[in-house]
């Protein structure tokens, strides 16, 4: 009986081992779940980091814009103070001009008082062309021909163009038609349409507002046509005009809204180009609205020829002094930065489009363009704006057509979509079925790869082989060593089978994770394609509006936008 081996302790050891293996199994399962949880956490963290990065970039951009806006606001004050310091005394002379004329109309002020005031201004504002012009004006009122001639001569020496226009307007105000025509002729003779001073806008204002009647009106209309004919004979003029107008229209392109196609913007690789094309197409509406609003409504016409002339005189003396030009130009750029909420690039684009306003002399066609598009910068009236647009309509249409063609060429023909690990392309969202099938196929392949990648680890094999080898080696010792060897082999085998059994669970987990990702991607794909279809629809509608702009411009003609004042109609009759 002593040969009988008592295996009860072996059984109990094996039972304990089984129990321990169950514990290990449960722990490994828990670890596996934790690993999946960590993986999900990592994905979540990555998404949050991406969001944070995007928010940070947006914050930096906004902060930069805010600072630019604040800087522009402060600088404007400085520039205005500088203008006030350097040219503030010109203001008194300017205000005195219409003051003298109105006082003379009312016959409330003694001629000597007017004379004294103008003499004082002559002394306090050296080198300013308007001071001797006022001395001449007061001498004329006082009937002092010699002083008037000396005043006019000095004023002409200081600034011939402005003096000629100034006295043309004064003569129109006094209804001296012959003198008006002579002053205007003198002004026209000095002009070169290739390099004309900006105050020509006052002449345009006079024409468009019906201030110049009869012979002067005819002379102005003829000279404008003559200048434009001369310009059109220049090589490259038409190309320049197209580009000039294209630049003016291009800055009317609206910016994309925050709510425009958010899913498409997030998942289309070429989203910036898609949004650019959309905004360009939306410009047609902006341009159409701009011209429609310009030609809608009544014009506010000054009640009398005196008031109309005073308004033009104010504009002539206030808006066109070349010494102030660098400061006015700086002030304008800063004001644009403020208007664009600190977006320096957008402000610069607008500033460049109107750059010719800030030059002392420029091409007459450029003056016409800027009178139409930036009237407030030149002091031009709405009537002038209408006249300038209608006179420029051929160039505007050509520029509009060029821009529309350029934008049509730049509309991306396809949207490149990237959703998680899948990518595909769509023109207008109509290939949804094909893309959904492709997405399914992509994830099927991914699932197959992931599932087949789940296999026994080398550790399981090592444990099995090492357990058998070491167990066998121990068993060669005989006696209780056999028992220990068997236990070791049983443990190694049990561990191996447990790992083998766990493979199915791991495969299921991988499959489920990827199925979930597929479902999410399929939902995103559906949303992106729906937005892409809407996008194409909107672009087509906005693009078609380009024809409305052309139709509107074709309906304009410049002669109908030259005002005829009631008194002129009477005189013609």
């Amino acid at each position: 009986m002593s040969d009988v081996i008592d295996l009860s302790s072996v059984h109990s050891h094996i039972s304990r081992l089984e129990h321990n293996l169950d514990v290990v199994n449960a722990n490994v399962g828990a670890v596996s779940e934790q690993v999946i949880a960590v993986y999900r956490q990592q994905e979540l963290t990555k998404d949050r980091l991406d969001d944070l990065h995007q928010q940070f970039q947006e914050f930096v951009a906004t902060d930069r814009k805010d600072k630019q806006k604040q800087f522009a606001a402060t600088e404007i004050v400085r520039v205005r103070q500088e203008i006030e310091q350097k040219f503030g005394h010109h203001d008194i002379v300017r205000r005195t001009t219409t003051g003298i004329l109105q006082a003379t109309d009312l016959q409330m002020i003694r001629q000597n008082t007017i004379h004294t005031v103008t003499e004082q201004l002559m002394v306090t504002t050296p080198n300013y062309w308007l001071a001797p012009a006022l001395v001449a004006l007061s001498a004329w009122i006082k009937d002092d021909r010699s002083l008037a001639e000396r005043g006019v001569a000095e004023s002409i020496r200081r600034d011939d163009n402005k003096t000629s226009l100034f006295f043309a307007l004064v003569c129109r105000r006094a209804r001296r038609s012959e003198a008006l025509t002579r002053w205007l002729s003198r002004y026209f003779q000095m002009q070169n349409p290739m390099a004309i001073d900006r105050e020509v806008v006052v002449m345009l204002d006079g024409l468009a507002n019906g201030v110049f009647g009869g012979g002067a009106l005819l002379a102005c209309s003829n000279v404008i046509e003559q200048w434009l004919t001369e310009l059109e004979e220049q090589a490259g003029f038409l190309d320049d005009q197209r580009k000039r107008w294209a630049a003016q229209l291009d800055v009317m392109t609206p910016k994309p809204g925050d709510r425009d196609y958010p899913t498409l913007r997030k998942y289309a690789g070429n989203a910036p180009q898609l949004m650019k094309a959309l905004c360009a197409a939306r410009r047609n509406r902006a341009v159409h609205d701009f011209f429609t609003n310009l030609f809608m409504g009544e014009l506010i016409v000054p009640p009398s020829i005196e008031a109309a002339c005073d308004s033009l005189l104010d504009s002539l003396v206030a808006n066109f002094d070349d010494e102030e030009l660098p400061y006015r130009s700086e002030e304008r750029l800063l004001a644009l930065i403020k208007e664009e909420d600190g977006d320096k690039d957008a402000a610069k684009a607008r500033f460049d489009a109107e750059a010719e306003i800030h030059q002392a002399s420029t091409n007459f066609a450029a003056v016409l363009t800027n009178s139409a598009m930036n009237p407030e910068q030149l002091g031009a009236t709405r009537a002038t704006q209408r006249y300038a647009v209608s006179r420029s309509r051929e160039w505007i249409m050509a520029a509009h057509n060029d821009l529309v063609a350029r934008d049509r060429m730049e509309i991306p023909r396809q949207a490149g979509l990237t959703i998680a690990s899948w990518s595909g392309t769509s023109t207008d969202g109509s290939n949804e079925k094909m893309l959904a099938a492709d997405l399914r196929q992509h994830y099927n392949a991914k699932i197959d790869t992931a599932v087949s990648a789940v296999s026994l680890t080398s550790a399981a094999w090592i444990v099995l082989i090492a357990g058998i080898l070491i167990g066998g080696l121990i068993m060669t010792g005989g006696g209780t060593a056999i028992l220990i060897g068997l236990v070791l082999i049983a443990a190694a085998t049990a561990f191996f089978f447990w790992k083998f059994k766990d493979l199915d669970r791991q495969r299921d987990a991988a499959r489920q994770a990827l199925e979930k990702e597929h479902d999410q991607s399929a939902a995103v794909l559906k949303a992106v394609l729906a937005e892409l279809a809407d996008y194409r629809h909107e672009v087509a509608i906005e693009d078609a509006r380009s024809a409305d702009v052309t139709a509107l411009l074709e309906s304009l003609s410049s002669p109908q936008f030259v005002l005829q004042r009631p008194e002129q109609r009477v005189s013609i009759a």
Binding site: D239, A398, N401, D402, A405, R406, R408, M409, R413
Partner: protein, 110 residues
Amino acid sequence: MQRLDAGTHQQDAAALQALLDAIAAEFPELGVDERPLGVVSRCFLGTPYEVHVCDLAGGIIEHFQHGRSMPPLFERARSIAAHGAYAFIEIYVSTIRAVAADGAVSVLNA
């Protein structure tokens, strides 16, 4: 240009020459180097054809399917030709000119 869809010009050399002469007659005052290199327009042969090209220098007419690339100077006019708003697109070395059915010409710098 619309007549190119009939396909006559690919088989009939005389018809092609007549077309090229007609195009040359449109530019009497221009030197050979100032004339367009070719003309691209939308192809109405139907799917899979998208645009066709009349290469004035080589005297070749070719219809292009979706995805098949065109010669380098012509490719840039592909999308605008396919847009359908223009009768045809003239290709020059430094510019392309999109001509609408009403004769309006849009100039695009390359």
